[in-house]
Symmetry: C2
């Protein structure tokens, strides 16, 4: 990264359109919509046990999202920024009456046939999931505020993936249909969040070096999402080797 | 972990022999000598490109070892402890005249046919490698001093693995034989380090809860080593899908 920042001193500032197009090019190449695990999910080729592993490990990711957003809140001295960003924590934690995203994800876990307590305890979550998720929390805590916000821009691409996913999950795994409230909520939340974050990043990336760092932050976030699916695929699809101590699907859960 | 620590309040203190046997049982189950990537390595079944990927990614791990050990040094208020532990940093960084472990590992990287600059820049290192290695640095920086030291106890098992590895590398990849100085050095360093660390952990784990935390720390370290090999196997062996941006072996390096 150092070398790209250095060489970028000689590169011209990107226009707003070029800067935004850069994020979309990164998403097209690196966002996890192309990951083989998601392709299998959307083709209906996963067993119940594999869906359980997915729901369990992604629960861990979901559970850390408000912590990640609180770390970003803590970076900002602007009450206006904090007011808008605070919504994300509400979306995931709920307001004490309506369920938030984490509670909705726990209902998805239950719909797969695992208990919510299993997810809450974190039993058998892949170490690689924990390492990647912690890398996300660390990233937003230690990089610049600009990079922290830019790392959220995977949400530019999430609506399209969620629309596809809801359609395919209902088609291929109708027994999961009652557990999809999380995705319904994200259909409106994610684009709102992405619009704000993109406008903020465009406004605050004032040099080519900052523009390059913002692009690199989105790449880093894509790496974090991708690595989680690599780990799921390796442990539960092919070759199918969960590490010592990780979740092992029950034998009756190995059918699609 | 919380639940095991709580329930351990009712469990009796382990004898010194039981406590030490616990570390060996964890190693037998979870140390990476059993990992399929290492089995292929030792059976001579890896291509030059796969060996390059291994050397490159493990270089990243090696490069963070003195940082990890400095973080442990920084935990200790005991000059006697620091004096002994300081040796580890010297072993890896060298003394300015004799090469340390990192320099020796760079020579192994070069022997595989990659440039040392490639490794130093970190080009194409798997994100999952970075996440796992950072988890190790974080672990020793944020857990108790006892857990930090206990996490080093994988060295109890490393001599046996290194003896086997040197033998097999010379047999199956004779062109690598000139690059094995790193392992020669570790044959004496690792057992010395492990003897000190084990005696220190035995002395400082005074409650069953602390004994359990020390065992858990070794499990966590085994997870960190195992996850790195999972990522290598997934990216470069089976199914062989390096993530976007990761090292891609040259076509002529795909033969054993």
């Amino acid at each position: 990264m150092t070398s790209s920042v250095q060489s970028s001193r000689e590169k011209p500032l990107l226009s707003e359109a070029e800067f935004i197009a850069g994020f979309h090019a990164i998403g097209e190449e690196r966002y996890h919509h192309k990951h083989p695990f998601h392709l299998l999910l959307h083709e209906g080729k996963l067993t119940r046990g594999q869906l359980q592993a997915w729901a369990l490990n992604r629960y861990y990711y979901q559970s850390r999202i408000p912590i990640k957003d609180a770390a970003i809140l803590a970076r900002s001295e602007d009450p206006g920024f904090r007011l808008v960003w605070r919504k994300r924590i509400l979306d995931h934690d709920g307001d004490g009456t309506k369920p938030g995203g984490i509670e909705k994800w726990l209902r998805l876990v239950e719909t797969t046939g695992l208990s919510r307590e299993h997810a809450l305890r974190g039993d058998g979550i892949l170490p690689a999931t924990r390492f990647a998720v912690q890398a996300y929390v660390d990233f937003v805590s230690t990089r610049s505020h600009l990079e922290a916000v830019a790392s959220s821009l995977t949400e530019l691409f999430s609506k399209k993936l969620i629309v596809l996913r809801m359609d395919r999950l209902r088609e291929h795994y109708p027994w999961l249909s009652g557990g999809l409230d999380y995705f319904t909520g994200r259909l409106t939340q994610a684009p709102e969040d992405a619009d704000f974050a993109l406008a903020w990043v465009v406004k605050h990336a004032r040099t080519r070096g900052e523009q390059d760092l913002a692009h690199a932050a989105l790449r880093a976030k894509c790496d974090i999402l991708w690595a989680q699916l690599d780990a799921l695929y390796f442990a539960y699809v092919n070759p199918g080797w969960p590490p010592p101590g990780a979740f092992q699907p029950a034998k009756e859960s190995l059918r699609t």
